[in-house]
Amino acid sequence: MSTENSSELGSELDHHQSDDHHAHDHKPHGITRWLFTTNHKDIGTLYLLFSLLMLFTGGILAMMIRAELFQPGLQFVDPHFFNQLTTVHGLVMVFGAVMPAFVGLANWMIPLMIGAPDMALPRMNNWSFWILPFAFTILLSTFFMEGGAPAAGWTFYAPLSTTYSSDSTAFFVFSVHLMGISSIMGAMNVIVTIFNMRAPGMKWMKLPLFVWTWLITAFLLIAVMPVLAGVVTMVLTDKYFGTSFFDAAGGGDPVMFQHIFWFFGHPEVYIMILPAFGIVSSIIPTFARKPLFGYESMVIATASIAFLSFIVWAHHMFTTGMPVAAELFFMYATMLIAVPTGVKVFNWVATMWRGSMTFEVPMMFALAFIVLFTIGGLSGLMLAIVPADFQYHDTYFVVAHFHYVLVTGAVFGIISGVYYWIPKWTGVMYSEKIGQFHFWCSIVSVNMLFFPMHFVGLAGMPRRIPDYALQFADMNAFISIGGLLFGLSQLIFVWMVVRCMRRKGKKASSQVWEGAQGLEWEIPSPAPYHTFQTPPHVK
């Protein structure tokens, strides 16, 4: 899609690359290489490894949650600690696992896809990564403080997060500020890079969809991360400085917290899915050996979803008591999101249609993404129906819904991207056997884990409870087993990654995949430390 003169371009590039490799590759060694690096590939690697570490951190918290919920009654943790687990699990997964993984992929792939030598703001790039370990050290250290970690849910509704919270709130607010600064800097870098550093001939409507979806995501980030910063600051001043933003006794309103939070929070969920759309839109054409169907409509659909994401926030709050006119507006706007999302799914299926498909691991995860993300989307459509939402709201039905879109959506999108590009990063093919094993273990266990949650939710089990009535016992035991298996399955993924990083495996060609198109497949594998120092010409 991006280039049509691949063979000619490829040979020219190879020549330049080998020059670069010998002449300019003076990277420092040891720890200083990673601390001071301004190289987009190094920073991408750091982001991805950090995100993997956070995936397991959040995963361990989830295992503790599922252990407690294995049987009715309190067995392992007390209810206050349970609330800390659910809160920090959410924060770590959203801000530590999913978002940094996407920034890591953006760092690695956007310059390679648009023919740029690096990100536009390399020093800021270094800084935006190195903030994160500190932010999460602060957040996780609250577990060891008196009163424990934040326990008001990852949505930290006031006044539970203000008047009624422990003193770790201040640490939590500070760490969220750091995460926000990191995200905003990452987003600025992406925007400046895409606007200014495209290779000659890389016109807007030739950009790979991953670049498009990330560009739109970056604008969403810049628009809403300051809103999050604002709301956590209001929590801080309400708790410590005597303000009453969310306290009716001082003229404030606790529901205003929710409006502000979800004005950030709803675009945030698209921040976590749009780049995955981009990844899948790269993978499906490659393994179908057929161009992406409806490129322009994919771009328009992504932009429409991003726009709509700003006017649907109150669908998270239908039970808070809104005027009926507002409920109707937010119901209609929310239902409307199904249209561009549907267009995307139909386009992917049309891309496969009459293709010549093979089913390597990236394709398997991308196909699983389409099916399971769509299930999450359809339950989202159900949730949009306000009268029914009154019954679904704050039950496990919602938990099932957002784990389908975030785990089998965002996380599966990321995993498929890693399998797709890891030969380019490391120069070796991952083991297809290990990868397929990982896929099948994951797909079975993830559905054992999240599918039954729909049923317990519909039957009336609220979310965020450490103990439940006896009629939910069988399903919860089953769900916990699924959770354990899904967690263990991800160790296979680590095994795959470690093997590739240790260069164990078949050597990868520069194109890697038979059907792969685009600039990133025209440089050697592994990608040299410096690429595109002379910009390629895209016709």
Partner: protein, 387 residues
């Protein structure tokens, strides 16, 4: 034999499709039964029936969309594969198709939005109610106040802590029972005013399709009209702190005659209690400690813990604390009025003077706080009067 083998082979070749069909059936089947353990129930009000119907319609629409999209996708996966020698077509867009698959979902959505809007508008119309009940959530109990009768009371979890901690048998009503349910008549439109004292709670009874957030400092409105007598159970739906899982809602719906009878009994019971409270003289240490321990365990132990040690950094300890071992009036004052800006509630109206005296005495003498001091109802009355 040959036939057997070929049918086996046929089955093997199509096993993916069978497996998929069986999987989908297995998933959907439990949902089809109306009173199933794994689905929303139809409930007992006209509104809850409408909500159930909307839920099932949108569910079937989603299933149909999923069947079509995934059907096409799996057909493509089975037939357009390289292993079968498929050669890729090169088409990459069609404006006509894009318009069609934008328009069809819009039509489906509009068709769905119409009945949903109708039900929603009906659900939000709480006008012309026969009875009004003010529901107040606090950590972790519900308070019901009938605005048409001089009746109000707290409703607390009835499940013993021992059952939660796996030291006693869990009954069928584990976590679903309260000491005093809300009692309502059938056939009357009941308006609920919903609010909270501390954090946000959410009052939810699935059988009525009523779920409304209880926001501190604001009053929400909702309503129901139940046609069938019975006991209906729900629970708090909004994370409200440590014991969020332990604040169930139970509504006992009776015929209007039985409801009137209950009102009369309730008023008489209240009068008797008042008389007994007035007639009660000073109590002995043993009486105060025995009653105090019971009250402490129902009202105080959720935060301050059975051991009186609190939760470091969140809830202060009573064991060995200055407050519980020195100045008595200050101790009474904080229990009666609560402490603004903290989770400490005002118990002045939740408990009678003798109950307050008992629990304060208990706090001053349990866990090695052995002050030996007795607090009597008169002492509590004095502090209350002195304000």
């Amino acid at each position: 034999m040959k036939y057997c083998l070929s049918s086996l082979r046929y089955f093997y070749m199509h096993s993916a499709r069978y497996a998929l069909a069986i999987f989908l059936l297995a998933c959907i089947n439990p949902l089809l039964a109306e009173d199933a353990k794994y689905n929303m129930t139809r409930g007992v009000t006209d509104i809850s029936g409408q909500v159930y119907d909307l839920h099932m319609i949108i569910f079937y629409i989603c299933c149909a969309i999923a069947a079509i999209v995934f059907g096409l996708m799996f057909w493509s996966i089975l037939h357009h594969r390289k292993a079968k020698g498929a050669t890729p077509a090169q088409f990459h867009g069609s404006l006509k198709i894009e318009i069609i698959w934008t328009a069809i979902p819009v039509v489906i959505l509009v068709a769905m939005a119409i009945p949903a809007s109708k039900t929603l508008i009906a659900m939000e119309d709480a006008s012309e109610a026969d009875i009004t009940v003010l529901i107040t959530g606090s950590q972790w109990k519900w308070h019901y106040k009938y605005l048409d009768y001089p009746i109000e009371f707290y409703s607390l979890l009835a499940t013993p802590r021992d059952a939660i901690n796996n030291q006693a048998e869990k009954t069928d009503l584990y976590l679903r029972d309260v000491d005093k349910p809300l009692v309502l008549p059938t056939g009357k439109k009941i308006r609920f005013l919903v609010t909270a004292d501390d954090v946000i709670h959410s009052w939810w009874v699935p059988a009525f399709a009523v779920k409304k957030d209880a926001n501190p400092g604001f009053i929400n409105e909702t309503w129901t009209k139940v046609d069938k007598p019975g006991i209906y159970r729900g629970q708090c739906a909004e994370l409200c702190g440590k014991d969020h899982a332990f604040m169930p809602v139970v509504v006992d719906v009776r015929s209007p005659e039985d409801f009137d009878l209950w009102v009369a009994q309730e008023l008489e019971r209240q009068a008797q209690e008042k008389a007994a409270e007035a007639a009660r003289g000073n109590m002995t240490m043993d009486e105060l400690m025995a009653q105090g321990q019971k009250i402490y365990e129902t009202h105080c132990a959720a935060c301050h813990q059975i051991s009186g040690e609190g939760l470091p950094g969140v809830i202060p300890a009573l064991k060995g604390s200055v407050m519980a071992t020195t100045d008595i009036p200050a101790h009474i004052q904080i229990v009666v009025n609560g402490k603004a800006g903290t989770a400490m509630q005002a118990y002045g109206k939740q408990l009678t003077n003798s109950e307050l005296a008992a629990v304060i005495t208990y706090e001053r003498n349990a866990w090695g706080n052995n002050t030996g001091e007795l607090v009597q109802a008169a002492d509590v009355a004095a502090v209350k009067g002195g304000e």
